[in-house]
């Protein structure tokens, strides 16, 4: 049984259909990357998994359980943690408080505040700073750390590198091996293909709401990806 199953998911916003018949299997412990240009539906896919968008219950299964109808707060309790695009840190809360709120679901496991500070040493000296005063990279690290505080079985990372300078992105991604090693299943969405495939066991390429390419990064050539990316 796969940890996460999407069965023929079609969804969107009001009149706007963003996903067309998506089928996806993610195995426990796997790192899976979804790539594609903007507007491809990558973020919508993650929102459907974390519960910001709902579908019929059966269309999203987590650990065998139909969860398509559950609100996000319930899914966190089951072990799905979403690190949103745009980071969404709580601006008026301090770094430490942001992490404490991240642990609101009371799921226990290896991730604690100290472990997160260990993972992102840059956060450790900012503990008492309000999150709005952090730089983009620091906010991104905080958002990931906060997502880990619920000790998820499945971590959804949405556009981690968005709006960050390459050196900063590099710093953030340094944390990836440790996260993967902790046994957490990771599903990440990236526009930066290079970053995505560095850690991914499998990749899915999306174009305009549809899956156009899937496989392990070794099997797929750059040219194929480029073609799938722009649809040209």
């Amino acid at each position: 049984m796969s940890l996460l199953e999407l069965n023929d998911v079609s969804t969107g916003y009001g009149h706007f259909q963003a996903l067309f018949n998506i089928n996806l299997r993610i195995e426990e412990g796997e790192t899976h990357a979804v790539i594609g240009a903007n507007g491809a539906g990558k973020s919508t896919l993650l929102r459907t998994i974390c519960g910001l968008l709902r579908t019929e219950a059966e269309k999203v299964r987590f650990d065998g359980r139909p969860v398509g109808q559950l609100p996000p707060n319930k899914r966190v309790g089951l072990g799905i943690s979403y690190v949103p695009e745009g980071r969404w840190v709580f601006p008026s809360l301090t770094v430490a408080e942001n992490l404490m709120v991240g642990a609101h679901s009371r799921r226990t496991g290896m991730w604690t505040m100290d472990k997160v500070y260990e993972l992102f040493p840059l956060l450790s000296r900012l503990r008492q700073r309000q999150a709005f005063s952090l730089s983009g990279g620091e906010q991104q690290a905080l958002a990931i750390g906060r997502g880990l505080m619920s000790n998820p079985r499945l971590l959804l990372l949405d556009e981690v590198s968005l709006g960050l300078a390459p050196v900063v992105v590099e710093k953030i991604y340094e944390a990836m091996p440790a996260i993967i090693k902790s046994g957490t299943t990771v599903l990440l969405v990236e526009q930066d293909v290079g970053q995505a495939i560095r850690f991914a066991d499998r990749i899915t390429c999306m174009l305009e709401g549809r899956q156009v390419l899937e496989g392990s990064p070794k099997e797929i050539s750059n040219e194929e990806i480029f073609a799938a990316y722009f649809g040209v």
């Binding site: 009149h15 240009a37 695009e85 590198s161 709006g163 560095r198 990316y229």
Partner: protein, 241 residues
């Protein structure tokens, strides 16, 4: 070629993050300019700065040589800047015709009776005339996008700013929309078009600019820009071929 719409050194920050950073854009009369860039690159904010929905922290916007940086959106509309929204926002309780009437009467600042002709023409150009008396809430996505276009056309814009107008449409729908936009171009309307469906964009625009982090990263011939190392870099990151 004379410049019709220009943004100079525009900067806008939200919560300490520079969404648009010292960005300059200029549009010649009769030109069609395409804009690409990853999510959050500041494309829509740039558009909002040009239309007045957002005021710049720094920099200025000129239209036909006049500084319009501090003018509210309605005045810019009167001046001849029309826009469509990424997520269509029709007036749902009004009919398609009445929606367009708002643009014709208020955008052109003229009496209602004098606007009917203009409305019919705008509807015709956007291929919506047969749907004129349908309530806007019952429209599907393509027709909503077309209504966005028709409403704006009714204000008789000199410049048309399109925000991802092809997004979410089927292949066939994109084609028909591209034809409409080509038509508008041929009529002499200057266009700035933000779009991530690249092939739609390439079919229309004369020039392409790519932005990231709110800054310009490439500008020029559309095909060259899309194949430029900078743009490949932005999209594909470290693995760019």
């Amino acid at each position: 070629m004379t410049v019709i719409l220009q943004g100079e050194h525009l900067t806008k920050s939200y919560g300490g993050v520079r969404v648009v950073d010292d960005l300059s854009v200029s549009l010649d009369e009769g030109e069609a300019l395409g804009v690409v860039g990853p999510n959050g690159a500041g494309k829509t904010t740039m558009l909002n700065l040009l239309t007045g929905t957002v005021t710049p922290d720094e920099g200025r916007v000129t239209f036909s040589g006049a500084d319009i940086s501090r003018r509210p959106p309605e005045q810019r509309c009167h001046a001849g800047i029309g826009r469509t929204f990424q997520i269509p926002r029709p007036f749902e309780g009004m009919t398609v015709f009445e929606n367009v009437l708002v643009g014709a009467t208020y955008g052109r600042n003229q009496p209602e009776k004098a606007s009917y002709e203009l409305c019919a023409r705008a509807l015709h150009r956007a291929d919506l005339l047969p749907r004129a008396n349908v309530l806007a809430e019952s429209l599907g996505l393509l027709e909503r996008k077309r209504l966005e276009l028709a409403r704006t056309l009714a204000t008789e814009p000199k410049v048309l700013l399109l925000d991802e107008i092809a997004g979410g449409l089927t292949e066939h729908e994109v084609h028909s929309l591209v034809d409409t936009i080509k038509q508008l171009r041929a009529e002499g309307i200057s266009i700035i078009w933000i779009e991530h469906i690249v092939r739609a964009l390439l079919a229309v625009v004369d020039r392409l600019m790519a932005i990231d982090f709110g800054r310009l990263i490439a500008e020029g011939d559309p095909t060259e820009v899309i194949n430029s190392p900078q743009v490949r870099d932005v999209y594909m990151g470290s693995m760019a071929p």
